[in-house]
Structures are given as structure tokens and as C-alpha cells.
């Protein structure tokens, strides 16, 4: 394994972590949005507050990790991607900003009217951000970002792969969030809420699965390098992901919410990993390889030092945070 590939692996680990944890946070927006009137939705919205309140900022930092590692390790590809995909990057950013701010504002807003406004912004923008991240992934994976960054500002991402990528991202985030919220509601003794959430989660899961199937043909045509990889080297991962996704549906259906969380994480992690494996060795598909796009060796080594520090300093702290939030004392009463 070359040095750049090692760093790319660390970068991609960040993408997966963001996809899982950030994704689950974003997905709560869907349930928040569809929770109904202020009275009817109060219980669910309180659960959303409680579930992601302590962790969303930490989960958000994965994105910073990804961006920073990307521009440090593969600077020209970062510049090329931000130039060509200016519009989706900007819109994803808009989603992130509105969501983070509105979430904090809603929690402390003084009146119901304000809470409604901020809540709507929070929930809506939670869907905008993953959609545009999905389009960005789709554009890179389908080889729409030229090495010099002079791709068309619109045509580069208004493609089947990008648009399906966006919808799938939204669906996946919502499904993940649904599984976690259902488990939280069940664990904290809100059986009615849990069963509503269970129904919705199943619906979201089935719908997302249907979209994935519908997307297969257009994506195979539109993104040949990616689909070659997905059906070749990455095929085992795709299969595992499909199985884990189906298992999650079954577990949720059987009200086995705790194990469903694990299988949902596996399903999403393997599909992301599958994308990475399928796209290897390209950084920007069909344009720049990981080795060619890499920056100076000294910088890559330094980055690995930073990654090592993260493993030693950040992961234990993160584990502590997650353990606290899952403990009895912290459960919503």
C-alpha cells in the first residue's frame, strides 16, 4: 500500500463515520418534519432533541475532518471538486448552517411560534444537506469532475448518478435515524411513539430500497467505472449491504430494535465502503488517481501522525460520550 492510499483510507474512514453518525443526525430531520402538528409531534420532537442534542456537534466534526484531510492530502483534487461542484457544495453548506443554527435556536426558543419556525428550518435543511452531499458523491463517482476543475457548473451534477445519489443519501440517512429513534423511544418507555416510528421507519426503508433498485440501470449506464467496480471488486460488500439492510427491516418489523441498530449501521457502512472500493484507485474517477492527486510526502506523513493522535485522543473521548448518552441516567424520562 502506498502512502497516499493509506491517507486516502483514513480519509474514507472519515467519510464512513460522517455517513453513519452525521447521517443518522440528518435523518432525524425527516421524522421531525413528518411528526405532525405541534401537539401531536411534541413527543417525537422532544425525543429528537434528546437523542441528537449531546452528539450532533461531535458528529458534525467528521465533516471537518474529511474536508481538511482532503485539501491537505489531495489539494488539487479538492480545488477541482469545489470549482466544478460549486453549486452543490454551496447548497450542502447552506443546509448544514441552517440546520445547526436552527436546531440550537429551537431548543431554547421562547414561544411555540418561534419553535415552529426554527423547527421547520431545522427539519427541512436536514434533508437538503445529505441530498447535495449525495449529488457531490455521484458526480465524483461518475467521473464528472475534470482534473483542472473546469467542469460545467450545472451539467456536472444534474446527472442520473448524482440525482439518484442525492435521493438515496436522504433515504439512507432517514432510515438510519428511524432505526435509532425507534430504539430510543422503545428504551425510554414510549411504546406508542416507538410503534409510530417503527411503521415510518419500515416505510422509509422499503422506499429507499425501491429507489436503489430503480437507480441500478441508469447508474450502470451513466457511471461505467463505478458500476464495473460495484459489480466486480466491491460486489461482496454490496451483497452484505443488501443483506444487512433486509435484516434491519426484518428486525424492526419484529420489534428487535436494539440489534436492528447494528445491522442498520452495517448496511450503511458497507454500501459506503463499497463505493470506495469500487472507485479505487481513482480520487476523481477517470481523471486523477489517488497516487497522482496526492500532495507532498512529508505532509502525508504528518497527516498520519494527526490521524494517530485522533485515534488516541478523540476516539476514547467519543466512546465516553456515546456511552454516557446510552446509559440509564441519561435516558429521556
Amino acid at each position: 500500500m502506498t502512502l497516499p492510499v493509506l491517507v486516502a483510507a483514513a480519509l474514507f474512514a472519515g467519510v464512513i463515520a460522517y455517513g453513519l453518525f452525521g447521517g443518522a443526525d440528518f435523518g432525524t430531520g425527516f421524522f421531525d418534519l413528518t411528526a405532525g402538528s405541534s401537539t401531536r409531534g411534541a413527543e417525537l420532537r422532544t425525543l429528537v432533541d434528546h437523542s441528537i442534542g449531546p452528539v450532533w456537534e461531535a458528529n458534525h466534526v467528521w465533516l471537518i475532518f474529511v474536508l481538511v484531510t482532503w485539501w491537505t492530502a489531495f489539494p488539487t483534487t479538492f480545488a477541482a471538486a469545489t470549482k466544478t461542484l460549486f453549486v452543490p457544495f454551496l447548497l450542502a453548506l447552506l443546509g448544514i448552517v441552517l440546520r445547526g443554527a436552527a436546531f440550537a435556536f429551537r431548543k431554547y426558543s421562547g414561544t411555540l411560534a418561534q419553535a415552529r419556525l426554527f423547527g421547520a428550518v431545522f427539519a427541512g435543511s436536514s434533508l437538503i444537506a445529505p441530498f447535495f452531499f449525495g449529488t457531490i458523491a455521484g458526480a465524483i463517482a461518475s467521473g464528472r469532475v475534470p482534473a483542472d476543475g473546469n467542469g460545467d457548473l450545472w451539467a456536472s451534477w444534474l446527472t442520473p448518478t448524482s440525482l439518484f445519489g442525492g435521493v438515496i443519501a436522504v433515504g439512507t440517512c432517514s432510515f438510519l435515524a428511524g432505526v435509532f429513534l425507534t430504539a430510543d423511544a422503545d428504551r425510554s418507555g414510549h411504546p406508542e411513539l416507538a410503534s409510530t416510528l417503527r411503521r415510518r421507519t419500515l416505510a422509509v426503508g422499503l422506499a429507499t430500497g425501491a429507489v436503489v433498485f430503480a437507480a441500478l440501470v441508469p447508474i450502470t449506464r451513466d457511471a461505467t467505472t463505478l458500476s464495473d467496480g460495484l459489480t466486480g471488486r466491491a460486489a461482496p460488500l454490496v451483497v452484505i449491504s443488501g443483506l444487512a439492510g433486509a435484516a434491519t427491516l426484518v428486525l424492526v418489523f419484529m420489534r428487535r430494535f436494539s440489534p436492528a441498530r447494528l445491522s442498520a449501521l452495517v448496511a450503511v457502512a458497507t454500501v459506503l465502503l463499497g463505493w470506495g472500493v469500487a472507485q479505487y484507485p481513482w480520487m476523481l474517477v477517470d481523471e486523477v488517481t489517488i497516487d497522482d492527486g496526492a500532495g507532498a510526502d512529508a505532509t502525508l506523513v504528518a497527516l498520519l501522525v494527526a490521524v494517530g493522535l485522533a485515534v488516541v485522543l478523540v476516539l476514547p473521548a467519543l466512546a465516553y460520550l456515546f456511552r454516557l448518552t446510552q446509559s440509564e441516567r441519561w435516558t429521556l424520562r
Binding site: 405541534s38 409531534g41 411534541a42 420532537r45 422532544t46 442534542g53 456537534e57 461531535a58 458534525h60 466534526v61 471537518i64 475532518f65 481538511v68 485539501w71 491537505t72 492530502a73 489531495f74 489539494p75 479538492f78 480545488a79 477541482a80 471538486a81 469545489t82 470549482k83 460549486f86 457544495f89 454551496l90 453548506l93 447552506l94 448552517v97 441552517l98 445547526g100 443554527a101 440550537a104 435556536f105 431548543k107 431554547y108 426558543s109 421562547g110 411555540l112 418561534q114 426554527f118 476543475g149 457548473l153 500532495g295 507532498a296 505532509t299 502525508l300 504528518a302 497527516l303 494527526a306 485522543l313 478523540v314 473521548a317 465516553y320 460520550l321 454516557l324 448518552t325 441516567r329 441519561w330
Partner: protein
């Protein structure tokens, strides 16, 4: 009169809006960032007092401050994310060639944000859930992360001012040494100035809130303590800041003489150089200033005899916009001196047995000292950044070559203005309503749609 931000015909289409958008988002982020840097330390002092002395007033303040910090840190984090995107969206000419040179400090900065966000989550939600002393300790990693994070970002900025850690060979970047960037010689002072500045901003702003309360007649222990703790922080910072700033300025004579010339409104080289208070450059001539002989040399060079190089010794293409730089610099110095004087007066009076917290004029001043500190901070950055022009990386990369050529950037700038106005108003409305409910005796602030409040 020379245009404020000269734009040449050959400039990339995105240049002007990119600059404006960068200035807006950085100028906004920096204020919130100050809270991320300095507020945990202040909450720590307050919270510790509550535990050690079993002081209920301090405990109430610490609880409230932690709720305020939840709002401020959230918008601080998202506004920082904006910057990470903008580095690429607005400045591909910087990030493409130099990403691997300047990126490493950002990576470490990312780590410290991780630590900050994790312990923030634990601290905010740990009230009544963690054992009190352990809970208190959760603030320490946050404060430490603030130091490391500030050092790291500022090292990038210091590198833009005094680039090292690479060589240019035939227009290509080679021999990259990221550690040299992280530990570049300019960082320590610039970091110190920024860090102390953050304590000034947060100290004076928080003190201002309680000073305003006292002016309205709320003179209870809650307000007195809420004023005093941040004011003590602000005092130490305000006294240190001119010293650090002065040393920082002396360096400029060697490293960025054209910036120094703009700071000092020096059109021609003078020895010794006077200090010009106020004034603007009109048609190439300095006008409307007050001249103090020799002091320019002292402030800029640390001695009354040394010369200050004039702008006319630099090619026109290498001169920064003089007026913005000069005015911003002087406003910073003016405010810094004023605030340092004010804290000296306060503590002298205190030593003589007079408590200025009972003096309405002093309280009025304390209320505006908060915004003044923010203005000083903004002006310091504007002076630094605009004074570096036309270079993004000093004598290596011109801003025209760093900027994107995207012609649609005015749209994104307009959008950014709307979003920042919205976020500012949102924060204002929410923080005001929190304060109002606290005054009305509601301590917990349940969410309005929460189970406790469904009847409301």
C-alpha cells in the same frame, strides 16, 4: 481619491465577491470563535466557585452561561464549517497549489474541535447527571482545545504573512515541510495576541450584559458576580494586549514593511517617523491628521530614531489599500488603549475604596466596552488581512491568482449576507427570550413543544 478596493480589468470575475464573502464570514466567525476560546475558562471559574464555596448564585450563573454557550457554540461551529468550504469554493488558487503546505495545522485544528465538541456535549447534558466535580472537569479539555485550535488556525494566518516550509522551483511548490508551517516563527506572537483578544471580547461582552442589568436597577449579588468574574478576565487581557500588540508591530518593519507603511500612513520614508493620529490618504496625500513627532518610529520600530519606510518605495502593484488598513489599525489601537485605561481606573478606584459598579457613568461605559472590544478585534483582523494585500501568501501568491473565476459568486455572496443576517437575528431573539424567561423566574427553559409546556 483612490478606490477602496482597486479591481483591475484582468482580475478574475470572482475576486471582489470572494473577498467580500470571506471578510463577512470570517468577521462573523471570529466573534463566536472568541466565545469558544474564552467562555469555557470563565464558566470554569464560576462553576468552580459554586462547588468549592457552595455558592448558589455562582451555580445559577454557571448554569445559565452553559445554556448560552450551547447556542453560541452551535452557531460558532456552523460558521466555522462555512469557512472550511469557502477555502475551496472561493480560493481554489490557494488550496490547489498550497493545500498540502498549509493544511496540516488545519488537521490538528480539526482534532481540537473534536475534543471541544465532545466535551461540550458532555458538559451541557451532564448537569444533574454527572457527579459535580467530574462534571466541572469537563470544561478543562474544552478550554485546552480552544488554545490548541486557535494556535493552529492562527499559524496558517501567520504563514500567509511569513511563508515558510516550502520552496518555489519554476513555479512549482517543492520541499514541503508541514511542521515548519505549524511552528513558523510568526505564530506565537500572533496567537498570543488573538488569544488575549478573545478574552477581552468575551470578558467585556459578558460584563456588559450585567452592567446593563445593574443600570436598570438590578443590583443583586447575581449581577455583581456576573459582572465581576468576566471583568477580571477582561482586565488581565486588556493590560496584556497593548504589550503583545506592540511587540507584534515591531516585527512588521522587517517582515511586511508595506503593511507597516499603510498602518502609519507613511507615504515617504521618514527618520524619525511621526505618529499620525486619524487622517486619510486623499489623492496620494495624507490629510486631516494629528502629528506626534518621533512616536511613529517608537511604535513601529521600538526606538525613537529608526526610520519607517514609505509607501513610495514599493511598486504601485505591491501597495495595499492604505485607508482601510490605516483606519482599522488606528481604531484597534485607540480602543485597546482606552480599555486598558478604563480597567486601570476601575481597580485604582477600588483600591482607594470606591466601587465603580455603583457609578452610573462607569456602568454606561462598561456597557459599550463590550461592543468596543469586538470592534477592536475586527479592526485588528481587517488591518492584518487588508494590509497583506495584494498578496494572499506574502510575496508568493497574489490574491488575484488565488481567487476563483466563478462569475456567479455575487449570488453566493448575496445568499451569505441573507443567511448571516438571519442567523444573527435568530441568535439575538433566542438569547433575549432566554434572558427574559430567566428574569421571570423560569430556570430550566423547557422547549415550548416539550411535554411540560404543551398547554402553553
Amino acid at each position: 481619491m483612490t478606490p477602496l478596493l482597486p479591481v483591475m480589468a484582468a482580475d478574475p470575475a470572482g475576486l471582489l465577491p470572494a473577498r467580500e464573502q470571506m471578510a463577512l464570514s470570517l468577521g462573523w466567525h471570529i466573534v463566536l470563535a472568541c466565545f469558544g476560546v474564552a467562555f469555557p475558562a470563565m464558566i470554569f471559574v464560576m462553576h468552580r466557585r459554586a462547588i468549592v464555596r457552595s455558592d448558589p448564585v455562582a451555580l445559577g450563573l454557571a448554569r445559565r452561561w452553559s445554556k448560552v454557550s450551547a447556542v453560541l457554540f452551535a452557531i460558532g461551529a456552523v460558521s466555522g464549517t462555512v469557512l472550511s468550504f469557502e477555502m475551496g469554493l472561493l480560493w481554489p488558487g490557494l488550496m490547489g497549489p498550497f493545500g498540502d503546505v498549509l493544511g496540516f495545522p488545519f488537521a490538528l485544528e480539526g482534532l481540537s474541535f473534536f475534543v471541544e465538541a465532545i466535551f461540550l456535549g458532555i458538559y451541557l447534558y451532564g448537569w444533574d447527571r454527572l457527579p459535580p466535580r467530574l462534571h466541572l472537569l469537563m470544561l478543562l479539555p474544552m478550554a485546552a482545545a480552544g488554545v490548541v485550535g486557535t494556535y493552529c488556525v492562527v499559524s496558517v494566518n501567520a504563514w500567509m504573512n511569513m511563508p515558510t516550509g516550502f520552496r518555489m522551483v519554476n513555479g512549482q511548490v517543492t520541499d514541503v515541510d508541514p511542521w515548519a508551517v505549524l511552528f513558523n516563527s510568526g505564530t506565537l506572537l500572533q496567537f498570543a495576541h488573538m488569544w488575549v483578544g478573545a478574552f477581552m471580547v468575551v470578558g467585556f461582552v459578558v460584563a456588559a450584559v450585567y452592567a446593563a442589568g445593574m443600570l436598570r436597577g438590578r443590583r443583586d449579588e447575581h449581577h455583581r458576580l456576573g459582572f465581576t468574574v468576566p471583568f477580571v478576565f477582561a482586565t488581565v487581557a486588556a493590560l496584556l494586549q497593548p504589550v503583545v500588540g506592540h511587540v507584534l508591530g515591531i516585527r512588521l518593519g522587517q517582515t511586511q514593511p508595506s503593511k507597516l507603511a499603510a498602518f502609519e500612513l507613511a507615504t515617504t520614508t521618514e527618520q524619525p517617523a511621526p505618529l499620525r493620529l486619524g487622517g486619510l490618504l486623499v489623492d496620494g496625500e495624507p490629510r486631516w491628521f494629528l502629528e506626534i513627532p518621533k512616536w511613529g518610529s517608537f511604535i513601529a520600530r521600538g526606538s525613537f530614531g529608526k526610520p519607517v519606510r514609505g509607501l513610495d518605495t514599493f511598486p504601485v502593484a505591491d501597495q495595499p489599500p492604505v485607508n482601510i488598513t490605516h483606519v482599522a489599525f488606528q481604531v484597534m489601537i485607540g480602543i485597546g488603549s482606552l480599555l486598558a485605561l478604563a480597567v486601570v481606573v476601575f481597580w485604582l478606584a477600588r483600591w482607594r475604596g470606591r466601587d465603580l459598579r455603583d457609578n452610573r457613568w462607569f456602568l454606561r461605559f462598561a456597557v459599550i466596552a463590550g461592543p468596543l472590544a469586538v470592534v477592536a478585534l475586527e479592526c485588528g483582523w481587517i488591518a492584518t488581512e487588508v494590509g497583506r494585500q495584494p498578496w494572499t501568501v506574502w510575496h508568493v501568491l497574489r490574491t488575484t491568482d488565488a481567487a476563483t473565476d466563478n462569475p456567479g459568486l455575487w449570488w453566493s455572496y448575496a445568499g451569505a449576507c441573507v443567511v448571516y443576517v438571519g442567523m444573527t437575528s435568530g441568535a439575538w431573539v433566542v438569547l433575549r427570550s432566554m434572558a427574559r424567561r430567566w428574569r421571570a423566574g423560569e430556570e430550566d427553559l423547557p422547549s415550548p413543544y416539550g411535554p411540560q409546556r404543551q398547554d402553553a
